[in-house]
Subunit: 319 residues, 2 copies
Amino acid sequence: DKKLALVTGRAYPEQAQETAKYLGTDVLETTAYDFANGEMYVRYTEPVRGADAFVMQAHTEPINKWIMEQLIMVDAMKRASARSITVVAPFLGYSRQDKKHQGREPITARLMFDLFRSAGADRIMTVDLHAAQEQGFFDGPVDHLTAMPILLDYVRNSMPLENTTIVSPDAGRIKVSEQWAAKLGGLPLAFIHKTRDTTRPNHAEAHGIIGDVKGRDCVVVDDMIDTAGTICEAVRTLNNAGAKSVTLVATHGLLSGPAVERLKNCGAREIVLTDTVPVPEEKRLPNMTVLSVAPLLAAGIRSVFESGSVSTLLNGLPE
Amino acid sequence: DKKLALVTGRAYPEQAQETAKYLGTDVLETTAYDFANGEMYVRYTEPVRGADAFVMQAHTEPINKWIMEQLIMVDAMKRASARSITVVAPFLGYSRQDKKHQGREPITARLMFDLFRSAGADRIMTVDLHAAQEQGFFDGPVDHLTAMPILLDYVRNSMPLENTTIVSPDAGRIKVSEQWAAKLGGLPLAFIHKTRDTTRPNHAEAHGIIGDVKGRDCVVVDDMIDTAGTICEAVRTLNNAGAKSVTLVATHGLLSGPAVERLKNCGAREIVLTDTVPVPEEKRLPNMTVLSVAPLLAAGIRSVFESGSVSTLLNGLPE
Ligand SMILES: Nc1ncnc2c1ncn2[C@@H]1O[C@H](COP(=O)(O)O)[C@@H](O)[C@H]1O
Ligand SMILES: Nc1ncnc2c1ncn2[C@@H]1O[C@H](COP(=O)(O)O)[C@@H](O)[C@H]1O
């Protein structure tokens, strides 16, 4: 008889609880604590032998600790004779370090896949990787989900679209914006043309706009909002160019460091995120909407559990 | 031409500097910093192609972060075409989680070796593993150094030994105490007989003493002092039994949580440690001596670099 074992690390257990509800199951109880020197202890208190295990963790701060906890959980799951182990990391840490920009740099995104593999993961489930190519970093199936249906649904139902333009905050993301424009019935496109200062992290310089934004309701679509430097520059650039309103949409709301302060003051009408990492109360602005990815994760987990594939999810969320 | 590349993470760079001095070389410059969301960036600023690389890191708090940094450094070293990569972890984190005590526990000590292997490590150099068996956790050479010569030398030169008894703080460490007693010219032995409360971490109950300690200068030898609960109980037990003095000796001075407060009040004459993890100024008691393992690490690194083995080190420190 097939058995599903859903477990979670300590970074964002609420997400696992909610996912379990959609699955009509419970999160398996886990004992987890820190020893005095910062090492962590993990143990499953219920049997997992023969189960298809899903080990969830949010890669949020302290991110290295939570990644390590998830690795330890995979090791424990392997030794407890789970039949299969799927790592569920809705935001995959280090996914931006996916290539060498200079000599003697790591490719930490690849390292993440290697570490999970060596701990015992059979598959990796994640949402909106920084680059889809990273699926090839894993020697096994990667269930690459997208939060686009969730975000699209929200935008569709929360604003009139007659006057809307989809804006890519940078040339690298035009393809995603094209998909957005198409899914929303063929909206016009624009993109911000910028030069990135590669010598300093989290810094970028906005420049001009390609496309027409004057008097338009602009929807800027990105994969993540981290320190919000780039995206807030984009809002300013759009407003200076006479945009009627600017809505920011992104899957991963990392909201690090100065992000919230910047978002508060940048002149965006609304900020729409998902909870691939937890967004704590104190970071939630009045004009910020955080959508749950639990239904998406539940659908992904159900697909893998029932048919060993998430292909049915590729074109949207099943009922 | 053979080239040695010694690099260090950010946990305890002073140790690498000191080790480099003994080797007559320099630590290679590394750029390393934290991104806003806690992910880390690492890059070597000098060529390492073809080098025999030694990647040092202290597994001290925040321990999971520093382990991850070391993994990333190994990945970068591999991609920069180092000829061989030796991980130098003087105290190996998680080495106490070396077996399953109950079902559904991880064996995190094994996981550590697996992770370093999968990042690209060819060998692991470490000092006084919690259990020597852990060498078998690595699919490759483990250079298992011992700080015993350093500690023995210090004890030999700092106290008269006519009236000394070597005490094992627990039955599991009697073998090491036997070695100490033999190396110091055949000193008498004693050990503390205790029952460990396995349901609570960092708690142990001291009981009786096997052997003669009344009026004796007792030297208690352990591999590590973490929260110092067990060892301070041992001191009290020995003093209650009429010991003349109690000296504590251990390789790894983790000194977590209440350790320093406990050591201050437990009635030990002296506490002798090494710096396999850094011991910050504020944790150093007036009666605490911290010995450097840099000469030992330098000797180990030189042996591996020159002959691919540390066997010459097994019976003490070479000149
Ligand atoms: N956690 C991070 N925070 C900020 N920048 C990062 C982070 N990780 C990697 N990067 C850098 O972000 C850039 C990613 O570029 P791109 O893939 O073009 O968006 C590279 O220069 C990376 O070095
Ligand atoms: N970081 C740690 N701090 C305290 N106890 C630990 C730590 N890691 C593992 N342990 C426990 O320490 C015990 C090791 O036992 P032993 O090998 O007999 O000294 C086991 O019960 C482990 O679960």
